[in-house]
């Protein structure tokens, strides 16, 4: 049995202290220690993107970080996006476009798409494909996922354009 060490981090907005063994990855910590299972674990070596979470506000592979390295860091998982408008719009369009079948890749896709739209609100199809190229989907195929991301971008942009002034009667 490995010895346990305390790690204090901000997890989905709440400061928390947990006991971890030093070789526990952030992904295993989130799923097994904390019980946050939106973060999936596929390849465990950085290739598939299923474990993508936000570290200090940027997407990162939770399988390529040990939980102990998260000391003092701000970690946000998909669970932490409840109520986030951009994420909700993305989720709805993934649903409407059938952009998931088994759902294994979905949280990683959503996290990556969220970061893309944050920096590039009106991406081209090529940009979306490039940005999602580090996330593997093994069952749905990518078309619907790219479509859903573009649809979400369109809706979010429509929402941010000021409504035209009502014509004076």
């Amino acid at each position: 049995m490995d010895s346990l060490f305390p790690v204090t981090l901000t997890l989905n907005g709440v400061i928390a202290t947990h006991e971890v063994s030093q070789r526990t990855t952030l992904a295993d910590f989130l799923r097994q220690t904390v019980g946050l299972t939106a973060t999936h674990v596929g390849c465990e070596h950085g290739v598939c993107g299923a474990c993508t979470v936000f570290v200090d506000g940027r997407i990162a592979r939770a399988c390529l970080m040990f939980a102990i390295q998260a000391e003092g860091r701000d970690i946000r998982t998909l669970e932490g996006f409840a109520g986030d408008r951009r994420m909700e719009v993305l989720q709805r369009h993934f649903h409407e476009r059938n952009a998931l079948q088994c759902g294994f890749c979905t949280s990683g896709m959503l996290a990556t798409a969220h970061q893309l739209l944050e920096g590039s609100p009106d991406p081209s199809r090529e940009e979306v494909r490039e940005s999602l190229s580090g996330n593997f989907c093994r069952c749905t195929g990518y078309h619907a996922i790219v479509d859903a991301t573009l649809d979400a971008a369109a809706e979010l942009n429509a929402a941010t354009v000021a409504p035209e002034a009502e014509p004076a009667c």
Partner: protein, 291 residues
């Protein structure tokens, strides 16, 4: 796919790092972004007993202009390189190289120092360092050394770093007025390691090529400069460039070796295609500089 047990320390000074590195010897390993080391540990190809995390070491995360050039701290992460106006102005080749590396989520964590220390022969940054004539500063218990990039990369995953030393900074001479730079690579999928890649820096005085540093990666056990090809380019005039002698010299001096995915002949062909393409892009006569 779980790492073997280890101890973990966030070091706060070079002295502390030196002491722990000396006490643990080969069993100690530093961790920067972890984007190469953690997969290696997961596969148990690396089994350090002590991980020395550099993330809190002061002074390693800055980008600043010094009299010697642009100084980039070893712990500067890829996304910070990509977003830095100083890098874009003084070392645009670095900015254009970053998007070729892996994917956004990996670029959030991976560091320039970690990349160079890892010395993957198919990695972009070692070639960029050669093309720009970078100097790599390393430090250990016996003090600091400044190593030209051309002497730093020795072989696959092998560098001039000695036991207990770390990279602390990378210094890039600032871009000259007449400099044109470009990087490109052949990859199976976006974000993969290159099948063959090239990073060029070419200096012009007026219309004449006065200097060239043509670096290649994923062709042999390390990034390499093609000196003879560069010599064949010097003296040629913009808009009238004859690539033939350059490519002939290249074929003579670099004999690509096969890797897991590509035969040597494939690489030899791709190297020539890529070099021709970059020369065309840089020297066709258009005034565009960076790309």
């Amino acid at each position: 796919m779980k790492a073997a047990p280890f101890d973990y320390v966030r070091v706060s000074s070079l002295d502390e790092l030196g002491e722990l590195a000396a006490a643990y010897g080969d069993d100690a390993q530093v961790i920067a972004g972890g984007q190469s080391l953690v997969p290696a540990m997961a596969m148990r190809m690396a089994r350090p007993k002590l991980l020395l995390d550099l993330c809190d070491l002061p002074g390693l995360a800055d980008i600043r202009l010094t009299p010697d050039g642009l100084e980039i701290g070893a712990m500067v992460r890829y996304f910070e390189l990509a977003g830095s106006p100083l890098v874009a102005t003084h070392a645009p080749l670095v900015s254009t190289a970053v998007p070729l590396i892996a994917h956004e989520a990996i670029r959030s964590r991976g560091t320039l120092g970690g990349n160079l220390a890892h010395a993957d022969p198919a990695s972009e940054m070692p070639a960029v360092m050669l093309a720009l004539g970078a100097v790599i500063t390393v430090a250990g218990s016996t003090g600091a050394r400044r190593i030209p990039a051309a002497e730093f990369f020795i072989g696959t995953y092998e560098t001039a770093l000695r036991a207990g030393e770390i990279i602390t900074a990378i210094t890039l001479p600032v871009a000259l007025a007449g400099r044109r730079v470009a990087i490109d690579e052949v990859v199976r999928r976006s974000g993969d390691y290159a099948a063959v890649g090239a990073a060029f820096a070419i200096d012009l005085e007026g219309e004449t090529v006065t200097g060239a540093r043509l670096a290649f990666f994923a062709v042999c056990d390390r990034a390499v400069l093609a000196h003879k090809a560069a010599a064949a380019l010097c003296g040629q005039r913009l808009g009238e460039i004859d690539p033939a002698p350059v490519l002939a010299a290249l074929a003579q001096e670099i004999a690509p070796v096969a890797d897991l995915h590509n035969r040597a002949e494939t690489k030899r062909h791709l190297m020539k295609v890529l070099a021709g393409r970059l020369l065309q892009r840089l020297l066709s006569g258009e005034k565009s500089t960076h790309g």
